[in-house]
């Protein structure tokens, strides 16, 4: 039986220790007060935490709302509204204990009924929350008493506490969850560390300390101003000039300038964020694994880190697990081999090469760059690729999960299971490649109900090997996450997941500007 019972005090110590890894000198105690200005690179238009879709929206949702658990930088779950949890031995039923005395921003108590109603709303297809397909195989949520929430699953699922830390799995009041949710598009009623002060999606979002947050020690800062800078160069300039204190993310093109600027600390962490080339495994010509392998063999992965990520990344091996994932399996990097690629292509029935159109959405622009680099690399082997860029909205409507050859882009997920069952299993939420490999499905299913760490590692290793053989998509590069801050910002740690910020844990140290 796997049982993780963590009392609050223990969790807080653990959290603080993981904030500043490997720092020799004594860390001063967190200072209370001050205004943090953080810049984001696009508007946070959606305020409803169940419906947020992009990183700045996740950032805002995290300030205003809480989930049962939240994600640490090492991709394990830490207690949030839930202070402890247990599961049955078959991992199919989980019981979460809520903290005592939780209240929403409007002063009403937050109980297990609110939690159950929130999850019921997330799982309702009509809500169209991304949480529905990302928080595990939940069959039913119930609230036997005010402090207890029970999740009955459709099968065993070892990763549930991590899955429940999902960006959209936030708790909202029952009367809103079960009634009209539109009120959440203009106001915020959550249990998060901050309350909403003003919401102007294209310019700035201001939040102020929630005096009734469950942890009296946090948040450390009084106020957070989230400023929107659509232009990355201007965003970097604002930090260098001291207009802002922290950049949630930085572009590779701005990173060298930030790293060399005085009074700026550049942050970088390897992540599992990747670009891939999706091939429809159920349509010609990609239904033949030899064509997919031929394409994989044309790509120089080391060079691709330079072309697509400007050196700020790690080469990929056609599995979505980067070294940043817990269950990553080391394997020799696939080397570019044009003669083999030509041979595979000829054996598949294309001795004279192939004409293909590779579709790339215009955001992020690295999609097209990757496409152009692949086109040039694959030319020699006989692939005649035309790169077609289109606006993101058109891409979503016409190509995404439907097209037969296009560039995909994904954030790192919290667990191996999350990314595999999001994209590559036969019943994947977003069936981009329609690979449909029964052996792979079986392995992923087995890992879900396996609690033993070594056994899981072995199973996920086999799954990764299957992907390297079958190449449903070419995954040539993982991006490092980049950010930057002023040196007086203390206790901020870049989370490789990309969608987790934990701003309530940081504080402003010596030298911070005085702002009202």
């Amino acid at each position: 039986m796997i049982s993780r019972r963590q009392i609050f005090a223990g969790a807080a110590v653990l959290g603080a220790a993981s904030l500043v890894p490997g720092l020799g000198q004594a860390q001063p105690a967190p200072r209370r007060g001050g205004v943090l200005r953080i810049s984001v690179d696009q508007a946070a238009g959606v305020l409803n935490p169940l419906l947020t879709r992009v990183n700045p929206e996740y950032l805002v949702a995290e300030l205003l709302y809480s989930g049962l658990t939240r994600l640490r930088a090492d991709m394990t779950a830490e207690p949030d509204l839930a202070e402890s949890w247990t599961s049955t031995p078959d991992l199919a039923e989980w019981t979460f204990k809520l903290r005592a005395g939780l209240v929403f921003h409007d002063g009403t108590p937050c109980t297990s009924r609110d939690v159950a109603a929130s999850f019921t709303a997330m799982l309702d297809p009509k809500t169209a929350s991304a949480a529905r397909t990302n928080i595990g195989p939940i069959a039913e949520v119930s609230a036997p008493d005010a402090q207890t929430v029970v999740f009955k699953l459709k099968g065993g699922y070892a990763d549930l506490p991590v899955a429940l830390a999902y960006t959209n799995a936030k708790i909202i009041p029952e009367k809103i969850a079960a009634g009209d949710m539109s009120v959440l598009s203009r106001s915020a009623i959550g249990t998060g560390p901050f309350k909403l002060v003003s919401f102007e999606p294209e310019r700035q979002i201001v939040v102020a300390r929630n005096e009734h947050y469950w942890d009296p020690a946090r948040p450390h800062v009084d106020r957070v101003e989230v400023l929107v800078y659509p232009d990355p160069a201007a965003e970097a300039s604002a930090l260098i000039a001291g207009d802002t204190d922290l950049m949630a993310s930085a572009q590779p093109s701005e990173f060298p300038r930030l790293a060399s600027a005085s009074g700026v600390k550049a942050l970088r962490v390897p992540s599992g964020q990747f670009l891939n080339i999706n091939m429809a495994c159920d349509l010609k010509p990609f239904d033949d694994v030899r064509v997919r392998r031929a394409l994989a063999l044309t790509v120089d992965r080391e060079a691709m880190v330079g072309f697509a990520a400007q050196g700020f990344g790690t080469p990929g091996n056609d599995t979505p697990l980067s070294p940043a994932y817990h269950f990553y399996q080391q394997a020799p990097l696939l080397k570019r081999n044009i003669p083999d690629a030509k041979r595979f292509l000829a054996e598949a029935g294309y001795p004279n090469g192939l004409d293909l159109t590779l579709v790339a959405s215009d955001t992020p622009s690295t999609r097209t760059q990757l496409g152009v680099a692949v086109r040039e690399m694959a030319k020699e082997a006989g692939f005649r690729i035309q790169v077609q860029t289109m606006p993101h909205a058109t891409y979503l409507a016409q190509v995404w999960t439907k097209g037969n050859f296009y560039v995909g882009f994904y954030n790192m997920q919290a667990s191996a299971d999350a990314i595999f069952s999001l994209l590559y299993t036969s019943n994947a939420a977003w069936p981009e490649t329609r690979w449909k490999n029964p052996d792979f499905d079986k392995l992923i299913g087995e890992a879900r109900v396996t609690a033993d760490e070594a056994r899981r590692r072995d199973i996920y290793g086999q799954a990764q090997a299957l992907m390297r053989e079958g190449v449903p998509s070419v995954i040539p590069v993982f991006f490092d996450l980049l950010a930057a801050q002023r040196p007086y910002v203390q206790g901020y740690q870049l989370n490789p997941r990309g969608a987790v910020f934990s701003l309530d844990k940081l504080w402003l140290g010596e030298g911070a500007p005085k702002r009202r």
Binding site: S365, T368, R375, M390, T394
Partner: protein
């Protein structure tokens, strides 16, 4: 014609404009042959190469030669702007002349509607149309044409009204010629001279509008070497490789200045007394 050219070259603006545009035209025609590299060729070690002997105008984030892309891209950018202007002018000229010919309530209705359409800023109209047609080179050309048509219609009409009062039109009406004949054979040709001046200046505007659409992501799509798109892509590396913005930006400006100068020169040459 020779006489016109001589008068054109005699004006300072005209002469300079012709020189600049000959240069631009040369790039459009001979560009791909002049280009030292394939415009699409990537080069891992040459990424962000500064202007120098290897790459005269530097290289971009994929190591592509900027000069080669500029020369190849001239073929997209300049003809697109020309085509869009001609299309817009033609549509506008037909509408304007027709309106002047019909006169009365029809004229009033057509012109008030055209005025109404012009209440939408040109760039906004172009953005909406380009977005509807789907972002891409052809969509952008049509969008610029649509944005230009109302303005051209207004100008053509005012000129046409002046022409309408001329004797040869009355003569044609007296001869009992058909309406189409009068509009196409008698009125339109006489409207041409002032319209040519306006059109030339508008090409400069079209070059910029087309580039702006690409800059905003609704014109040519990457990896096309269109100039506005090159600026847009290069802006991301402004601090690392400023030439990625400067080079295509200057190319756009030179082309636009060329057409502006030519337009002013033509105006002087066609109507030497008017000093504007």
């Amino acid at each position: 014609m020779n006489d016109l050219l001589r008068r054109l070259l005699a004006t300072r603006q005209g002469a300079l404009g012709v020189v600049l545009l000959v240069l631009v035209a040369f790039c459009c025609i001979a560009g791909p042959w002049l280009a030292p590299y394939d415009a699409e060729q990537i080069d891992f070690l040459g990424r962000f190469a500064a202007p120098g002997t290897r790459h005269l105008l530097g290289a971009d984030q994929l190591g592509r030669d900027v000069l080669s892309r500029l020369l190849t891209g001239a073929r997209t950018t300049v003809p697109a702007a020309l085509g869009a202007t001609l299309l817009g002018t033609l549509a506008g000229a037909v509408a304007g002349t027709l309106s002047a010919y019909l006169g009365g309530h029809w004229d009033e209705a057509i012109m008030r509607t055209i005025d109404a359409v012009m209440a939408l800023p040109g760039l906004l109209l172009a953005l909406l149309v380009a977005n509807t047609l789907g972002a891409g080179g052809l969509g952008a050309v049509l969008a610029v044409a649509v944005a230009f048509a109302p303005g051209m219609a207004r100008i053509t009409r005012s000129v046409a009204l002046a022409v309408r009062r001329q004797e040869y039109v009355s003569a044609a009406i007296a001869r009992g010629e058909s309406g189409t004949y009068i509009v196409l054979r008698e009125m339109l040709p006489n409207v041409v001279a002032p319209v040519i001046v306006e059109t030339t200046i508008r090409v400069a505007f079209a070059v910029m509008l087309f580039a702006t659409l690409s800059f905003l992501g609704l014109g040519a799509q990457p990896p096309a070497p269109e100039w506005g798109l090159m600026v847009s892509e290069g802006r991301r590396y402004l601090h690392q490789a400023p030439w990625l913005v400067v080079v295509p930006g200057v190319a756009i400006a030179i082309t636009a200045i060329g057409f502006n100068l030519l337009g002013d020169g033509l105006r002087d040459a066609l109507n030497p007394r008017d000093e504007r």
